[in-house]
């Protein structure tokens, strides 16, 4: 059976690690890389860095944070926020990122997905989707950190993006994000049933056992967590134990 990945998600604004609710009302948590190192040492399988303002203000401040993380974090890093071109992706990959996550620019220009996938391989091209529930079994794609409606249906967009070369989906529920109410399992299931690429469930993790819903009911391949880690409500180790106890296969990890 496949091993489920436990991913620490770091939302960045300028030099700070931040956290909001519904991707808004952002609070400063601290230094991104102090937290990154802590989660790496706790046994996070991957890290995700998302710059939550880059796509609004057109700047790319993530490179330095990622470069500095690459000094002592030796697990894969996905980086997103403000990537508009193959050149932006190149810059971040050269800075130590292993994958780039694209949302706003991919909606505006779906060809960017193919361009990045062709240059670096699909495994590098993560489609980030911020979605809101709009009706029975219907979710809409948002961009610009959950602010802008697109009119796109999540399922249709996921299928199109995978056909264009997206190798992985980071699926964030704006409704659940920061609420600790658990994952939007029906949305996760709707997406995992439609596509063959790995899906990372994000948004809403309130307690370690929520992982079981995302994976066993939703079919997620990986779970991204932020709030639960940043506020110290659980460690990666706690979540790993809960996952194992619930029958999910995870990486064996013994903290040094």
């Amino acid at each position: 059976m496949r091993k489920i990945r436990l991913i620490a998600r770091l939302d960045i604004k300028g030099p700070n690690l931040i956290k909001g609710v519904h991707l808004e009302g952002l609070r400063v948590i601290g230094s991104p890389n102090v937290h990154a190192l802590r989660y790496y040492q706790q046994g996070a399988d991957e890290l995700i860095y998302m710059d939550c303002v880059a796509s609004l203000y057109g700047r790319n401040s993530l490179g330095d944070i990622v470069k500095s993380a690459a000094q002592d974090v030796f697990v894969p890093m996905t980086v997103g926020g403000g990537i508009r071109s193959v050149e932006d992706a190149t810059y971040l990959l050269r800075s130590g990122a292993d994958k780039v996550a694209v949302n706003t620019a991919a909606v505006a220009n779906p060809r960017l997905i193919s361009d990045i996938a062709r240059r670096f391989g699909s495994q590098c091209m993560v489609l980030s989707i911020e979605a809101k529930h709009i009706g029975p079994d219907r979710w809409e794609v948002y961009t610009d950190n959950g602010r802008e409606k697109t009119g796109l249906d999540v399922i249709a967009w996921v299928k199109q993006a995978v056909a264009l070369g997206a190798g992985e989906i980071l699926l964030t529920s704006v409704d659940r994000e920061g609420t600790r109410k658990g994952f939007d399992v029906p949305m996760i299931r709707a997406v995992t049933q439609e596509v063959g690429v790995p899906v990372i469930a994000s948004g809403g993790m309130g307690k370690p056992s929520d992982v079981l819903d995302a994976v066993l009911s939703g079919g997620a391949d990986a779970v991204a967590m932020a709030d639960i880690l940043h506020y110290g409500r659980a460690t990666i180790g706690d979540i790993r134990s809960a996952a194992s106890a619930g029958g999910i296969e995870v990486r064996a990890y013994e903290p040094a």
Binding site: D45, Q71, G96, A222, R251
Partner: protein, 223 residues
Amino acid sequence: MSRPDVAVMDYGMGNLLSVRRALEHCGAVVAVTADPAVLRSAPRVILPGVGAFANAVAELRRRGLDAVAREIAARGIPLMGICLGMQMLLDESEEFGFSKGLGLIPGRVVPVPAVTAQGQPQKIPHIGWNGLVYPRGRTSWAGTVLRDLKPLDAVYFVHSFMAQPADHGHRVADCLYGGVPIAAVIGRENVVGCQFHPEKSGAVGLQILRAFLYAESEVLGGA
């Protein structure tokens, strides 16, 4: 700069910063270079790689580094290929048609099977952490870069193609994906390849890099 402990071959593709940082974390002085003279004089060489096989081989060739890699291998200098760098050690690849590799380990590169051993469809690429196991017939990793590991220690894979060494004895470690064995580490004397990314495999990956850097024996891939 003092003489490097290890040179990382830079042929214009991929994430060399992470490889460099991981080696530095292990205490090595690292040169990331396309300079044949620096590569030839380094006591150890790493051939990294992400992307497509044909592109990578073309970029190596354009810089004359294919010949340098062969020469290094022939002189008995420890050479480690990582991910695509491992695949390039073989004779040829089926990725996007057909391309020739470096021919340092006999065999070819073929797609990761899209079905499990039970015939169920499985996701490609093979992405994520997977445990290393002994290939059929092997009972120890002594004398290889895996000497400090135990079976099922997990490392991080991202790939759609896999190495298929012609000689089963060149398989140092496998992992199982959907029950199908995938060559995770291959080796032939001083030439060794890791399909996974040791620089992204946490403490286990660093142990492998340390073994490569500080191996007393020049036999890294097993006999």
